[in-house]
Symmetry: C2
Subunit: 437 residues, 2 copies
């Protein structure tokens, strides 16, 4: 049997501790499955004297992650510190430059510096693996890299943020308001004290940037993504969606179009009978639409110490077996630049909720403005929906829900601007894009 693989772990939070415990507990199976042993020989964290529930006495301690990354006798550097900047970035660079494989769960680092790091890994002929950076324990990175090696992907989309899905699930199942669900999520540890990174869609965008690159061979680039969060979603939208056969999910979507790859993160109406609509609570899911084949959906835990550690460990195991694939599926020189697809060009169906003033001719005025933009309607609901706010009920205004057939964002925005000028509605129209399954 080959000599065992020597691992250095930087960052000993819940994931790092779970990883070390897992490597000890599953020692025998790992050796069987990888053809060699795996052992953690060195670690690094901020506080040395902290009980993490794992025995670190046989491991060399480093105060400086960069020193660990370059230490002789380490084959793989596992980066679990997080953050797009230093020390994570410098440590990963140092490890790659020293010819060590790197395994990381750091989506922010990859979304920002992924291309440069992949080039460095390529130059030094070492692996850069990051299964845990997207959708926790769901094996989506290896599925795209390996299962779709010879199969063009038309679209990839997913529920990539457990916090948002938890909030939307509670809103739907209990008819609660956004703020209330967010508070519960914070209390349960599903949301940060400053929740904006999650609820405004940025966490999803970082993960989508990585998925897009893997699926379409674009250079990973978070800034090319249109991002819209879920804080504007109201119980009335969720109730109306329910009546019309939809659920509201925050999706990250990357789709091949005639004009290039469109990448976007926004609240989305998905049909209730789709696999992705069934995904509730903090669970994550990713659907791949390959050319000529029905979709493939992967569902599982998107976060948590053990779930993340499992994916990290699978990446370490790949290194132990000598597997080394291009980090983003293709050589860096073959990755294409991508530009932010202007959302005005987006084509699809739309959900529109308006508060129409209750006077004769209002419906006709709205319909006329939509028709001027050649927007066809799949359905129009004027009856009072469940979940309307008290203010809405008292205002005397009538909620109108429109579902359009495929049109463009530009047409919808122009039509709604004209409706606004007509002064037949109160407040701002709510617009939610529909994603076909």
């Amino acid at each position: 049997m080959t000599e065992s693989l020597k691992v250095g772990v930087a960052g000993l939070g819940t994931v790092g501790a779970a990883l070390i415990a897992q490597i000890v507990r599953e020692r025998a199976m790992l050796a069987e499955r990888c053809g060699r042993g795996i052992e953690v020989v060195a670690v690094c964290a901020r506080a040395r004297n902290k009980d993490r529930g794992v025995d670190l006495r046989k491991m060399k301690w480093f105060d400086d992650p960069i020193a660990l990354a370059m230490a002789p006798g380490i084959d793989v550097f596992v980066e679990l510190m997080g953050g797009a900047g230093n020390p994570a970035k410098a440590a990963v660079e140092a490890a790659l430059a020293s010819g060590k494989a790197v395994v990381t769960a750091n989506k922010a680092l990859l979304a920002k510096h992924g291309v440069r790091l992949a080039a460095l890994a390529e130059k030094h002929k070492v692996a850069l693996n990051f299964e845990a950076a997207v959708a926790g324990a769901i094996p989506i990175v290896r599925t795209v890299r390996e299962e779709f090696a010879g199969n063009t992907i038309e679209r990839i989309y997913g529920i990539l943020n457990g916090t948002c899905n938890y909030i939307l699930t509670r809103m739907e199942q209990e008819g609660l308001a956004f703020d209330e669900c967010l508070k519960d999520a914070q209390r349960l540890g599903y949301a940060e004290a400053d929740p904006s990174f999650d609820i405004e869609g940025h966490d999803t965008a970082q993960k989508l940037a990585i998925l897009s690159s893997l699926a379409f061979g674009t250079k990973v680039d978070e800034s090319a993504i249109y991002v819209e969060g879920i804080s504007s979603i109201q119980p009335a939208d969720i109730a109306a969606a329910d009546e019309l056969g939809y659920r509201v999910k925050l999706l990250g979507v990357a789709v091949r179009t005639a004009k290039g790859v469109e990448q976007r993160v926004h609240p989305t109406m998905v049909r209730k009978d789709s696999a992705i609509a069934q995904v509730m609570g903090v669970t994550n899911a990713v659907t791949i639409d390959p050319r000529g084949i029905n979709p493939i959906t992967l569902i599982g835990p998107g976060a948590g110490g053990m779930a993340t550690a499992a994916s990290v460990l699978s990446d370490v195991a790949d290194v132990a077996r000598g597997m080394r694939l291009p980090p983003f599926g293709r050589p860096v020189a073959r990755l294409n630049g991508t530009s932010k697809a202007p959302m005005q060009r987006h084509e699809g169906g739309y959900y529109i909720r308006l508060l129409a003033r209750d006077k004769p001719g209002t419906a006709a005025a709205i319909a006329t403005r939509l028709a001027e933009q050649e927007i066809s309607l799949e359905s129009i609901v004027q009856r009072h929906p469940k979940g309307a706010s008290e203010a809405e009920t008292k205002s005397g205004a009538v909620p109108v829900i429109l579902i359009t057939y495929a049109t463009t964002e530009d047409a919808v925005r122009k039509a709604l601007a004209a409706v606004g000028r007509d002064r037949v509605i109160s407040g701002r129209p709510q617009v939610i894009r529909i994603e076909k399954n």
Copy 2:
């Protein structure tokens, strides 16, 4: 760039033709993703002059698959002939013995001879890949081999046969009888003229045998599996399941128990809110329960030329990249024997449907017999369920549906035997196991 990988394909049905077309169409992407080209240089099939929609003129033709398997200049032998016997078996053996990698979609061959073939591959240090043999385009083989390298699997179960799931879906959604749905499945090409291999659970069992081996390190052994098909399922069962919050699915289940790995294929009640319960029609799905982590579910097309070809091609791509893992995840010497787990020992909840004679004391008599076996009831429904047959309605007998808490198969069988001796029911009781999610 390394020299291109030379592929020989034996079997030119829908999968073989789709594979060849795919390799031509995706030539550029394959080269980028694999670091070398992939080309089909030789083929073999029964009829030479048949239009398969692909250009075979540049490929060498073989009438004999064994000659193709041993031909110099071939790096990978792709076996798409099917069948557990010759010529598939002899050809795969010849290819492995000649030091060629083998990719096959042949579940029957692997279920019967998997251990011997894996040993041969190991001896000659070549890959034996079979992603397409289980659940078509769903990347379940690589997920278990790679993502779960260091993560103990407690249970793996799935909908592995599209024909059965199509029939059960139609029965549920349209309230139709089994025979009628089977006829439709045959008419639509989802079921064979002799459907028994599918509907009696044997197809599912072959796939489960492979999954069990990958997940638990047992020697693949179809004969160790308890198998029961779906032909006894009646609309009354599906209607009762629906009322009680369940769906009926044919599952293949392999679970780690204190007494070893229990492998079984049978109609199963699954909770409607589980991911697997959402899987409708010919779609397949597999759920993995890892130790300490929430389940991971993979959903996708389980059959079809292009879907199967995609998985075959992903296996060929792995060979092109020089990846070689032990076929069943561990060296053959480490695979453990498995014995057929006696179903009497099976523990779980049960659905029982009886036709009770409508006379005083019947319910008490039934309850007493269950209590004697220490079986506790989660629910008991005596009202007339939807979907009862006309015969049932006319007989004056009252359908009684029982849902038990976890008990043993032995206890259930003994209790029902006693109920039978009491002469308080007519006909045979229907018993369906409940699988927890």
